[in-house]
Amino acid sequence: MTGPASYYLAIKISNTEFQMKMEDMPLSGPDNTRLEALVHDIYSELVEDACLGLCFEVHRAVKQGYFFLDETDQESMKEFEIVDQPGVDIFGQVYNQWKNKECECPNCKRLIAASRFAPHLEKCLGMGRNSSRIANRRLASNNNMSKSESDQEDNDDLNDNDWSYGAEKKAKKRKSDKNQNSPRRSKSLKHKNGELGSSVSSEPYKFNYNTGISYETLGPDEVRSLLTTQCGVISEHTKKMCTRSQRCPQHTDEQRRAVRVFLLGPSAPALPDADAVVESDSFDIPDGQTLMSRLQWEDSPDISPTDSASSKASTNHSDSRRPKKKKRPSLGLNSGGGGGGGGGSGGLAGGSSSSSSSQSNINLSTKKKRPKLSAPSISSIYDDLN
Protein backbone atom coordinates (compact mmCIF):
# COMPACT_ATOMS: atom_id res chain seq x y z
CA MET A 1 0.00 0.00 0.00
CA THR A 2 1.02 3.49 -0.52
CA GLY A 3 2.19 5.56 2.35
CA PRO A 4 -0.81 7.76 2.89
CA ALA A 5 -3.24 4.92 2.51
CA SER A 6 -1.49 2.75 5.04
CA TYR A 7 -1.29 5.69 7.32
CA TYR A 8 -4.99 6.15 6.91
CA LEU A 9 -5.65 2.53 7.73
CA ALA A 10 -3.48 2.72 10.79
CA ILE A 11 -5.35 5.71 11.98
CA LYS A 12 -8.70 4.18 11.28
CA ILE A 13 -7.91 1.11 13.29
CA SER A 14 -6.55 2.95 16.25
CA ASN A 15 -9.34 5.42 16.19
CA THR A 16 -12.19 2.97 16.06
CA GLU A 17 -10.94 1.43 19.23
CA PHE A 18 -12.14 4.23 21.33
CA GLN A 19 -14.11 6.53 19.13
CA MET A 20 -17.76 5.75 18.95
CA LYS A 21 -19.34 8.97 17.88
CA MET A 22 -19.78 9.63 14.23
CA GLU A 23 -18.26 13.02 14.45
CA ASP A 24 -15.10 11.58 15.91
CA MET A 25 -14.58 9.15 13.13
CA PRO A 26 -11.60 10.06 11.10
CA LEU A 27 -12.37 11.77 7.90
CA SER A 28 -12.54 9.31 5.11
CA GLY A 29 -11.12 9.63 1.71
CA PRO A 30 -7.62 10.29 0.55
CA ASP A 31 -7.94 14.00 0.73
CA ASN A 32 -8.89 13.91 4.26
CA THR A 33 -6.01 11.78 5.37
CA ARG A 34 -4.02 14.87 5.06
CA LEU A 35 -6.55 16.74 7.10
CA GLU A 36 -6.47 14.03 9.69
CA ALA A 37 -2.71 14.17 9.77
CA LEU A 38 -3.00 17.86 10.15
CA VAL A 39 -5.33 17.47 13.04
CA HIS A 40 -2.89 15.21 14.77
CA ASP A 41 -0.05 17.52 14.09
CA ILE A 42 -1.90 20.37 15.61
CA TYR A 43 -2.69 18.22 18.59
CA SER A 44 0.95 17.24 19.02
CA GLU A 45 1.96 20.83 18.87
CA LEU A 46 -0.44 21.71 21.61
CA VAL A 47 0.74 18.91 23.84
CA GLU A 48 4.36 19.80 23.35
CA ASP A 49 3.53 23.35 24.15
CA ALA A 50 2.02 22.24 27.43
CA CYS A 51 5.04 20.14 28.28
CA LEU A 52 7.43 22.94 27.54
CA GLY A 53 5.38 25.30 29.57
CA LEU A 54 5.62 22.98 32.49
CA CYS A 55 9.36 22.63 32.11
CA PHE A 56 9.90 26.35 32.09
CA GLU A 57 7.69 26.73 35.11
CA VAL A 58 9.56 24.09 37.05
CA HIS A 59 12.94 25.37 36.02
CA ARG A 60 12.13 28.86 37.11
CA ALA A 61 10.84 27.57 40.41
CA VAL A 62 14.03 25.65 40.95
CA LYS A 63 16.24 28.56 40.14
CA GLN A 64 14.23 30.98 42.20
CA GLY A 65 14.22 28.59 45.06
CA TYR A 66 10.55 27.97 45.61
CA PHE A 67 10.21 24.60 44.01
CA PHE A 68 10.77 22.55 47.14
CA LEU A 69 9.04 24.85 49.55
CA ASP A 70 6.26 22.44 50.31
CA GLU A 71 8.73 19.81 51.36
CA THR A 72 10.61 21.72 53.98
CA ASP A 73 8.79 20.28 56.96
CA GLN A 74 8.74 16.54 56.89
CA GLU A 75 6.69 16.21 60.03
CA SER A 76 3.77 18.22 58.88
CA MET A 77 3.95 16.51 55.54
CA LYS A 78 3.31 13.20 57.22
CA GLU A 79 0.61 14.70 59.34
CA PHE A 80 -1.37 16.04 56.43
CA GLU A 81 -0.74 13.31 53.98
CA ILE A 82 -3.62 12.43 51.76
CA VAL A 83 -5.64 9.59 53.23
CA ASP A 84 -6.95 7.00 50.87
CA GLN A 85 -9.01 4.63 52.94
CA PRO A 86 -12.58 3.57 52.42
CA GLY A 87 -15.18 5.24 54.57
CA VAL A 88 -12.96 8.20 55.23
CA ASP A 89 -12.34 11.39 53.30
CA ILE A 90 -8.91 12.52 52.22
CA PHE A 91 -8.38 14.28 55.52
CA GLY A 92 -9.12 11.12 57.38
CA GLN A 93 -12.43 12.34 58.74
CA VAL A 94 -15.45 10.14 58.86
CA TYR A 95 -18.36 11.50 56.91
CA ASN A 96 -21.42 10.68 58.92
CA GLN A 97 -19.77 10.40 62.25
CA TRP A 98 -22.51 12.26 64.05
CA LYS A 99 -25.37 10.65 62.28
CA ASN A 100 -25.60 7.64 64.51
CA LYS A 101 -24.76 9.38 67.72
CA GLU A 102 -27.49 10.11 70.16
CA CYS A 103 -27.61 12.91 72.64
CA GLU A 104 -29.58 13.13 75.82
CA CYS A 105 -31.91 16.05 75.90
CA PRO A 106 -31.38 18.03 79.11
CA ASN A 107 -35.02 18.93 79.20
CA CYS A 108 -36.91 15.75 78.59
CA LYS A 109 -34.07 13.31 79.17
CA ARG A 110 -34.66 11.46 76.00
CA LEU A 111 -32.08 10.21 73.60
CA ILE A 112 -32.33 12.14 70.37
CA ALA A 113 -30.42 11.58 67.17
CA ALA A 114 -27.71 14.15 66.75
CA SER A 115 -28.99 15.57 63.52
CA ARG A 116 -32.43 16.04 64.99
CA PHE A 117 -31.18 17.42 68.24
CA ALA A 118 -31.35 21.10 67.51
CA PRO A 119 -34.92 21.14 66.24
CA HIS A 120 -35.99 18.90 69.09
CA LEU A 121 -34.42 21.20 71.61
CA GLU A 122 -36.17 24.13 70.08
CA LYS A 123 -39.50 22.52 70.58
CA CYS A 124 -38.69 20.94 73.85
CA LEU A 125 -37.71 24.21 75.44
CA GLY A 126 -40.51 26.05 73.73
CA MET A 127 -38.20 28.63 72.25
CA GLY A 128 -37.87 29.64 68.69
CA ARG A 129 -40.32 30.56 66.02
CA ASN A 130 -41.63 27.18 65.14
CA SER A 131 -42.37 26.15 68.65
CA SER A 132 -44.74 29.04 69.12
CA ARG A 133 -46.53 28.19 65.92
CA ILE A 134 -46.88 24.65 67.03
CA ALA A 135 -48.12 25.69 70.42
CA ASN A 136 -50.72 27.75 68.63
CA ARG A 137 -51.73 24.88 66.52
CA ARG A 138 -51.90 22.61 69.48
CA LEU A 139 -54.05 25.08 71.30
CA ALA A 140 -56.43 25.15 68.45
CA SER A 141 -56.52 21.44 68.10
CA ASN A 142 -57.08 21.06 71.80
CA ASN A 143 -60.02 23.35 71.57
CA ASN A 144 -61.40 21.40 68.74
CA MET A 145 -60.80 17.85 69.57
CA SER A 146 -61.57 17.75 73.28
CA LYS A 147 -58.90 15.31 74.09
CA SER A 148 -56.78 15.66 77.16
CA GLU A 149 -53.98 18.12 76.87
CA SER A 150 -51.57 16.68 74.47
CA ASP A 151 -48.32 15.54 75.83
CA GLN A 152 -45.75 17.99 74.72
CA GLU A 153 -43.24 15.33 74.02
CA ASP A 154 -45.54 13.35 71.84
CA ASN A 155 -46.20 16.34 69.76
CA ASP A 156 -42.51 16.99 69.67
CA ASP A 157 -42.09 13.67 68.01
CA LEU A 158 -44.70 14.53 65.50
CA ASN A 159 -43.25 17.89 64.90
CA ASP A 160 -39.76 16.59 64.58
CA ASN A 161 -40.71 14.98 61.35
CA ASP A 162 -41.56 17.04 58.40
CA TRP A 163 -45.18 18.01 58.27
CA SER A 164 -47.35 15.66 56.37
CA TYR A 165 -49.53 17.28 53.84
CA GLY A 166 -52.73 16.45 55.67
CA ALA A 167 -51.52 17.75 58.96
CA GLU A 168 -50.36 20.87 57.29
CA LYS A 169 -53.72 21.42 55.68
CA LYS A 170 -55.46 20.99 58.98
CA ALA A 171 -53.03 23.21 60.70
CA LYS A 172 -53.22 25.84 58.03
CA LYS A 173 -56.95 25.92 58.22
CA ARG A 174 -56.96 26.44 61.91
CA LYS A 175 -54.07 28.79 61.82
CA SER A 176 -56.09 31.15 59.73
CA ASP A 177 -58.43 31.51 62.62
CA LYS A 178 -55.60 32.30 64.91
CA ASN A 179 -53.63 34.49 62.64
CA GLN A 180 -54.58 37.59 64.49
CA ASN A 181 -53.65 36.24 67.81
CA SER A 182 -50.22 36.85 68.92
CA PRO A 183 -48.59 33.49 69.38
CA ARG A 184 -47.34 34.72 72.71
CA ARG A 185 -50.85 35.05 73.91
CA SER A 186 -51.65 31.47 73.36
CA LYS A 187 -48.40 30.50 74.91
CA SER A 188 -49.05 32.55 77.96
CA LEU A 189 -52.36 30.92 78.37
CA LYS A 190 -50.82 27.54 77.91
CA HIS A 191 -48.15 28.13 80.48
CA LYS A 192 -50.51 29.44 83.04
CA ASN A 193 -51.87 25.97 83.42
CA GLY A 194 -49.95 25.12 86.49
CA GLU A 195 -50.46 28.40 88.21
CA LEU A 196 -54.12 28.88 87.78
CA GLY A 197 -55.04 25.34 88.17
CA SER A 198 -57.18 25.56 85.17
CA SER A 199 -56.72 27.60 82.15
CA VAL A 200 -58.23 27.95 78.81
CA SER A 201 -56.05 25.48 77.07
CA SER A 202 -56.22 22.77 79.62
CA GLU A 203 -59.95 22.56 79.73
CA PRO A 204 -60.94 21.51 76.32
CA TYR A 205 -64.35 20.44 77.35
CA LYS A 206 -65.25 24.01 77.82
CA PHE A 207 -64.76 24.74 74.19
CA ASN A 208 -66.84 23.55 71.42
CA TYR A 209 -64.97 25.06 68.59
CA ASN A 210 -61.80 26.88 68.36
CA THR A 211 -63.08 30.37 67.92
CA GLY A 212 -65.26 30.55 70.94
CA ILE A 213 -65.18 30.06 74.65
CA SER A 214 -68.14 29.64 76.86
CA TYR A 215 -67.87 32.21 79.57
CA GLU A 216 -70.37 30.61 81.83
CA THR A 217 -68.15 27.74 82.70
CA LEU A 218 -65.10 29.82 83.41
CA GLY A 219 -64.09 31.01 86.79
CA PRO A 220 -63.38 34.66 87.42
CA ASP A 221 -59.69 34.12 87.22
CA GLU A 222 -59.91 32.57 83.84
CA VAL A 223 -62.28 35.17 82.63
CA ARG A 224 -59.91 37.86 83.71
CA SER A 225 -56.96 36.24 82.10
CA LEU A 226 -58.89 35.66 78.94
CA LEU A 227 -60.12 39.17 78.74
CA THR A 228 -56.69 40.66 79.09
CA THR A 229 -55.41 38.76 76.14
CA GLN A 230 -58.34 38.15 73.90
CA CYS A 231 -61.18 40.04 72.41
CA GLY A 232 -63.73 38.23 74.54
CA VAL A 233 -66.80 39.67 72.93
CA ILE A 234 -69.66 37.31 73.42
CA SER A 235 -71.29 36.20 70.27
CA GLU A 236 -75.02 36.51 70.43
CA HIS A 237 -76.00 33.36 68.71
CA THR A 238 -73.43 31.08 70.24
CA LYS A 239 -72.96 32.72 73.61
CA LYS A 240 -69.24 32.26 73.26
CA MET A 241 -66.38 34.63 73.77
CA CYS A 242 -64.31 35.62 70.83
CA THR A 243 -60.81 34.24 71.15
CA ARG A 244 -59.26 36.54 68.63
CA SER A 245 -56.87 39.29 69.55
CA GLN A 246 -57.82 42.54 71.17
CA ARG A 247 -57.78 44.05 67.78
CA CYS A 248 -59.99 41.58 66.05
CA PRO A 249 -61.92 43.31 63.31
CA GLN A 250 -65.13 41.53 64.01
CA HIS A 251 -65.79 43.38 67.21
CA THR A 252 -65.48 46.96 68.25
CA ASP A 253 -63.83 48.29 71.35
CA GLU A 254 -67.20 49.24 72.68
CA GLN A 255 -68.28 45.67 72.50
CA ARG A 256 -65.18 44.55 74.28
CA ARG A 257 -65.74 47.09 76.95
CA ALA A 258 -69.30 46.01 77.38
CA VAL A 259 -68.27 42.43 77.78
CA ARG A 260 -65.78 43.30 80.42
CA VAL A 261 -68.29 45.27 82.34
CA PHE A 262 -70.73 42.47 82.02
CA LEU A 263 -68.36 39.78 83.13
CA LEU A 264 -66.28 41.51 85.69
CA GLY A 265 -68.57 44.14 87.04
CA PRO A 266 -68.68 47.86 86.55
CA SER A 267 -65.30 48.33 88.10
CA ALA A 268 -63.75 46.36 85.32
CA PRO A 269 -60.57 48.01 84.31
CA ALA A 270 -59.88 49.50 80.99
CA LEU A 271 -59.67 47.66 77.82
CA PRO A 272 -56.12 47.11 76.91
CA ASP A 273 -55.28 48.68 73.69
CA ALA A 274 -53.91 45.73 71.91
CA ASP A 275 -51.13 47.00 69.88
CA ALA A 276 -49.89 44.43 67.53
CA VAL A 277 -46.51 45.89 68.06
CA VAL A 278 -46.48 44.52 71.52
CA GLU A 279 -46.84 40.98 70.44
CA SER A 280 -44.28 41.20 67.80
CA ASP A 281 -42.08 43.07 70.14
CA SER A 282 -41.90 40.09 72.36
CA PHE A 283 -40.06 38.25 69.68
CA ASP A 284 -37.44 40.87 69.52
CA ILE A 285 -36.59 40.29 73.08
CA PRO A 286 -33.61 38.12 73.72
CA ASP A 287 -34.58 34.56 74.18
CA GLY A 288 -33.31 34.29 77.67
CA GLN A 289 -35.60 37.00 78.84
CA THR A 290 -38.53 35.51 77.08
CA LEU A 291 -37.84 32.14 78.52
CA MET A 292 -37.48 33.43 82.03
CA SER A 293 -40.58 35.51 81.88
CA ARG A 294 -42.52 32.63 80.50
CA LEU A 295 -41.22 30.27 83.10
CA GLN A 296 -42.40 32.55 85.83
CA TRP A 297 -45.67 33.33 84.24
CA GLU A 298 -48.58 33.43 86.58
CA ASP A 299 -51.13 35.76 85.29
CA SER A 300 -51.56 38.36 82.74
CA PRO A 301 -49.20 41.05 83.81
CA ASP A 302 -50.71 44.22 85.02
CA ILE A 303 -48.33 46.94 84.42
CA SER A 304 -48.82 50.15 86.21
CA PRO A 305 -48.42 53.37 84.34
CA THR A 306 -45.39 54.13 86.35
CA ASP A 307 -43.90 50.88 85.31
CA SER A 308 -44.50 51.68 81.73
CA ALA A 309 -43.26 55.17 82.21
CA SER A 310 -39.96 53.99 83.41
CA SER A 311 -39.60 51.37 80.78
CA LYS A 312 -36.82 51.66 78.33
CA ALA A 313 -37.12 53.21 74.95
CA SER A 314 -38.06 50.06 73.19
CA THR A 315 -41.21 49.77 75.18
CA ASN A 316 -42.56 53.24 74.83
CA HIS A 317 -45.53 51.78 73.10
CA SER A 318 -46.62 50.88 76.60
CA ASP A 319 -46.61 54.55 77.34
CA SER A 320 -48.88 55.24 74.47
CA ARG A 321 -51.28 52.71 75.75
CA ARG A 322 -51.24 53.93 79.24
CA PRO A 323 -54.11 56.33 79.01
CA LYS A 324 -56.37 53.70 77.52
CA LYS A 325 -58.52 51.63 79.75
CA LYS A 326 -57.10 48.41 80.96
CA LYS A 327 -58.66 45.35 82.42
CA ARG A 328 -57.66 44.63 85.97
CA PRO A 329 -58.39 41.70 88.19
CA SER A 330 -61.09 42.86 90.45
CA LEU A 331 -59.66 41.33 93.52
CA GLY A 332 -59.76 44.50 95.42
CA LEU A 333 -56.05 44.35 95.25
CA ASN A 334 -56.13 46.82 92.58
CA SER A 335 -52.90 48.46 93.36
CA GLY A 336 -52.84 52.07 92.43
CA GLY A 337 -52.22 53.31 88.98
CA GLY A 338 -55.22 51.70 87.38
CA GLY A 339 -55.50 51.71 83.72
CA GLY A 340 -51.92 50.88 83.32
CA GLY A 341 -50.25 50.52 80.03
CA GLY A 342 -51.56 47.75 77.95
CA GLY A 343 -49.56 45.17 79.68
CA GLY A 344 -52.55 42.98 79.41
CA SER A 345 -52.27 42.92 75.70
CA GLY A 346 -51.24 39.46 75.22
CA GLY A 347 -49.63 39.36 78.52
CA LEU A 348 -46.74 38.76 76.43
CA ALA A 349 -45.28 41.90 76.38
CA GLY A 350 -43.28 39.24 78.02
CA GLY A 351 -39.88 40.63 78.14
CA SER A 352 -40.83 44.19 77.45
CA SER A 353 -43.34 44.44 80.20
CA SER A 354 -41.19 42.63 82.61
CA SER A 355 -38.35 44.89 81.80
CA SER A 356 -40.52 47.88 82.34
CA SER A 357 -41.80 46.51 85.56
CA SER A 358 -38.35 45.75 86.63
CA GLN A 359 -37.48 49.33 86.63
CA SER A 360 -39.94 50.11 89.36
CA ASN A 361 -41.20 47.17 91.21
CA ILE A 362 -44.31 48.74 92.51
CA ASN A 363 -47.91 48.00 91.85
CA LEU A 364 -47.66 44.32 92.10
CA SER A 365 -50.56 42.43 93.46
CA THR A 366 -50.40 38.81 94.31
CA LYS A 367 -51.55 38.04 90.89
CA LYS A 368 -48.81 39.92 89.29
CA LYS A 369 -46.04 37.77 90.46
CA ARG A 370 -44.78 37.04 87.03
CA PRO A 371 -43.35 40.39 86.21
CA LYS A 372 -41.99 40.69 89.67
CA LEU A 373 -40.25 37.39 89.68
CA SER A 374 -38.63 37.95 86.40
CA ALA A 375 -37.80 41.48 87.34
CA PRO A 376 -34.88 40.95 89.66
CA SER A 377 -32.91 38.98 87.15
CA ILE A 378 -33.74 41.31 84.34
CA SER A 379 -33.38 44.45 86.33
CA SER A 380 -29.84 43.55 87.06
CA ILE A 381 -29.18 43.27 83.37
CA TYR A 382 -30.68 46.60 82.64
CA ASP A 383 -29.10 48.27 85.56
CA ASP A 384 -25.84 47.28 84.12
CA LEU A 385 -26.85 48.56 80.77
CA ASN A 386 -28.10 51.80 82.18
Binding site: F18, Q19, E23, D24, L27, R34, L35, L38, V39, H40, D41, I42, Y43, S44, L46, V47, E48, D49, A50, C51, L52, G53, L54, C55, F56, V58, H59, V62, F67, F68
Partner: protein, 95 residues
Protein backbone atom coordinates in the same frame (compact mmCIF):
# COMPACT_ATOMS: atom_id res chain seq x y z
CA UNK B 1 3.19 18.92 -1.49
CA UNK B 2 3.26 22.64 -1.56
CA UNK B 3 -0.48 22.50 -1.76
CA UNK B 4 -0.48 20.67 1.48
CA UNK B 5 1.95 22.99 3.09
CA UNK B 6 -0.13 25.90 1.88
CA UNK B 7 -3.15 24.23 3.39
CA UNK B 8 -1.34 23.75 6.65
CA UNK B 9 -0.15 27.28 6.69
CA UNK B 10 -3.60 28.63 6.09
CA UNK B 11 -5.11 26.42 8.72
CA UNK B 12 -2.53 27.41 11.25
CA UNK B 13 -3.03 31.01 10.44
CA UNK B 14 -6.75 30.73 10.86
CA UNK B 15 -6.31 28.90 14.08
CA UNK B 16 -4.18 31.62 15.50
CA UNK B 17 -6.10 34.52 14.14
CA UNK B 18 -9.39 33.38 15.45
CA UNK B 19 -8.00 32.78 18.90
CA UNK B 20 -8.82 29.15 18.68
CA UNK B 21 -5.25 28.12 19.29
CA UNK B 22 -5.14 30.00 22.57
CA UNK B 23 -8.43 28.55 23.59
CA UNK B 24 -7.27 25.07 22.81
CA UNK B 25 -4.08 25.63 24.75
CA UNK B 26 -5.97 26.76 27.80
CA UNK B 27 -8.39 23.92 27.50
CA UNK B 28 -5.59 21.43 27.31
CA UNK B 29 -3.78 22.89 30.27
CA UNK B 30 -6.88 22.91 32.38
CA UNK B 31 -7.70 19.34 31.53
CA UNK B 32 -4.21 18.13 32.20
CA UNK B 33 -4.13 19.78 35.58
CA UNK B 34 -7.54 18.37 36.40
CA UNK B 35 -6.60 14.83 35.62
CA UNK B 36 -3.38 14.95 37.59
CA UNK B 37 -1.04 14.85 34.68
CA UNK B 38 0.70 17.98 35.81
CA UNK B 39 1.38 16.64 39.28
CA UNK B 40 2.69 13.45 37.80
CA UNK B 41 5.06 15.38 35.59
CA UNK B 42 6.17 17.54 38.46
CA UNK B 43 7.10 14.44 40.38
CA UNK B 44 9.15 13.37 37.41
CA UNK B 45 10.81 16.74 37.40
CA UNK B 46 11.71 16.36 41.04
CA UNK B 47 13.40 13.11 40.20
CA UNK B 48 15.41 14.76 37.45
CA UNK B 49 16.40 17.62 39.69
CA UNK B 50 17.53 15.34 42.43
CA UNK B 51 19.52 13.43 39.90
CA UNK B 52 21.21 16.38 38.32
CA UNK B 53 21.51 18.51 41.39
CA UNK B 54 19.49 21.55 42.28
CA UNK B 55 22.07 24.07 41.24
CA UNK B 56 22.93 22.71 37.86
CA UNK B 57 19.74 21.54 36.33
CA UNK B 58 18.96 23.14 33.02
CA UNK B 59 15.86 23.56 30.97
CA UNK B 60 17.24 21.12 28.47
CA UNK B 61 17.53 18.42 31.07
CA UNK B 62 13.95 18.81 31.99
CA UNK B 63 12.66 19.07 28.47
CA UNK B 64 14.50 16.05 27.29
CA UNK B 65 13.09 14.01 30.10
CA UNK B 66 9.60 15.36 30.33
CA UNK B 67 8.46 15.72 26.77
CA UNK B 68 8.29 12.10 25.70
CA UNK B 69 6.82 11.05 29.01
CA UNK B 70 4.37 13.85 28.90
CA UNK B 71 3.17 13.00 25.45
CA UNK B 72 2.65 9.41 26.42
CA UNK B 73 0.89 10.08 29.66
CA UNK B 74 -1.86 12.31 28.34
CA UNK B 75 -5.10 10.51 29.17
CA UNK B 76 -7.18 9.23 26.32
CA UNK B 77 -10.20 11.26 27.20
CA UNK B 78 -8.27 14.47 27.02
CA UNK B 79 -6.74 13.48 23.74
CA UNK B 80 -10.09 12.56 22.31
CA UNK B 81 -11.63 15.82 23.30
CA UNK B 82 -8.88 17.87 21.79
CA UNK B 83 -8.88 15.98 18.54
CA UNK B 84 -12.59 16.42 18.35
CA UNK B 85 -12.35 20.12 18.78
CA UNK B 86 -9.63 20.51 16.24
CA UNK B 87 -11.55 18.48 13.73
CA UNK B 88 -14.61 20.53 14.35
CA UNK B 89 -12.67 23.69 13.79
CA UNK B 90 -11.25 22.40 10.57
CA UNK B 91 -14.58 21.24 9.34
CA UNK B 92 -16.01 24.62 10.02
CA UNK B 93 -13.29 26.86 8.73
CA UNK B 94 -11.10 24.92 6.38
CA UNK B 95 -11.71 24.98 2.68
Amino acid sequence: MSKESRLRASVNQKLTEMGERERLKELLRAKLTECGWKDQMKANCKAVIKEKGLEHVTVEDLVVDITPKGRALVPDSVKKELLHRIRAFLAQHAT
